[in-house]
């Protein structure tokens, strides 16, 4: 997957439907194209289907109808293990392995890919530096870290094998406001440098506007808007407006600055 050029389509959802085993229709005909290097924000409230959409990309779910194409190939045609090892994955609370040290957590995918130990170790060093963590914590276990540190380790782990695509499911959702703000800024800077294709699930419009190059708004399993942050902020669509009103005064500028 690494050899593809930096332009073109990375991920494409073609008329994707997803029905849960309970029969509930979680996604209803979603069509969405994500270009290489783009940061696509999947925005919506709880139950809108945004996390399901994300999990269709790394084949944790398969569509009931339609197709999800990664690098032009349907996820059902990919070997799911190979597909997932080529996609970084960060979830809320990081999902770090509690019995793995920081170094083992970050080195997970390199190890799965069979990298030699010294190469993995060098990569772990590089990543700790990249996400702003002290080398001294490599032998610590997740429970010995702060929430912010854990989340940085989670990001480092997802970047370990340098995957071209990064899936992030509310990665900063459980952090306190100041740490969250810090991590968002750092991630923004990191992304400007690395130019990964990012799919980022959030219900926080402020986060979406800050980190996204495009925002896809989902409601009850349907895609109702796909706009750049500028277009989103000036949209007259009542459903987009409702989102803007909910976050009014809480966006880029501090409350009451105007």
């Amino acid at each position: 997957m690494n050899t593809s050029p930096q332009n073109g389509t990375a991920i494409e959802f073609r008329n994707v439907h997803y029905r849960a085993s309970s029969g509930l229709e979680v996604l209803r005909g979603v069509a969405l194209t994500i270009e290489r290097g783009e940061s696509m924000i999947l925005l919506g409230r709880s139950g809108s289907g945004k996390t399901t959409l994300l999990k269709l990309v790394n084949a944790l779910f398969t569509p009931s109808e339609g197709q999800v194409l990664v690098d032009g190939r349907s996820t059902t045609q990919w070997d799911p293990i190979a597909l997932r090892r080529g996609i970084g994955y960060v979830i809320q609370e990081a999902g770090l392995f509690p019995h793995f040290s920081v170094a083992q957590n970050i080195g997970l995918v390199p190890k799965l890919l069979g990298w030699p130990a010294d190469r993995t170790a060098a990569r772990v060093d590089e990543l700790l530096n990249m996400v702003g963590l002290d080398r001294a914590i490599v032998d610590r276990y997740p429970r010995e870290l702060s929430g912010g540190q854990r989340q940085r380790v989670g990001v480092a782990r997802a970047l370990a094998a340098d995957p071209p695509i990064l899936l992030m499911d509310e990665p900063f959702g459980a952090l306190d406001a100041i740490t969250r703000d810090e991590l968002q800024r750092e991630f923004r800077a990191l992304q400007d440098r690395l130019q990964k294709t990012v799919v980022f699930v959030t219900h926080d419009l402020r986060e979406g506007l800050m980190l996204g190059t495009r925002i896809a708004l989902l409601e009850s399993g349907e895609l109702i808007a796909n706009l750049s942050p500028q277009q989103f902020e000036s949209s007259s669509d009542p459903r987009v407006q409702r989102y803007l009103r909910a976050f009014d005064g809480n966006l880029q500028k501090p409350r009451g600055a105007e």
Partner: protein, 219 residues
Amino acid sequence: MNLVQFLRDNQAQMLELTLEHLGMVGISMLIAVLIGIPLGILISRHPAWNKPVLGSANVIQTVPSLALFGMLLPVPWIGARAERLAILALTLYALLPLIRNTYAGIKGVDPAVVEAGRGMGMTDRQVLWQLELPLALGVILAGVRVATVISVGLATIAAAVGAGGLGEFIFRGLASVNNQLILAGAIPAALLALLADVSLGWIEKRLTRRTATAAVAVG
């Protein structure tokens, strides 16, 4: 004749019966672990097997121990030798805590951890060996500990079918209304059970130091 003197006079037999006792418990626990833990893993993977497997283990557990030894007596090959019979009975009794704890331990692993593992491309086998089993280890070992302690106690009954062990003293004492003899079997058996409990508890703690607070850290 007091107890101390009795033990002094019968040192050799005492040692022999204790070793027999430990042998029965050790072999039956080994077999039970080799069967029970895989069964626990199996039912965590295939929910349809859950009821029949746990149900059967439960039923075995409800059979009174003396009756179980008696019921196995007519079974060919097994019934022919008292030690085989005792080992089979003890194995059957140990299954329930092992299966149940393995199942509960795996089900108790934080789903976010398993999902992160799968999402990053771990195979089912890697998820089991690198995530689920290590994180369930504390609960599984607790099951081994419970089963072992029960087994040490139950093994005294094996003497009723002639399999030896510390029950030998107890049954002889009961038959001859000799309290000293009963205590000569009961006290070492109780001490063995305590020893098993403490040493397995220590191993459990050592092996799970890291993951003991795992649920707190991730949840």
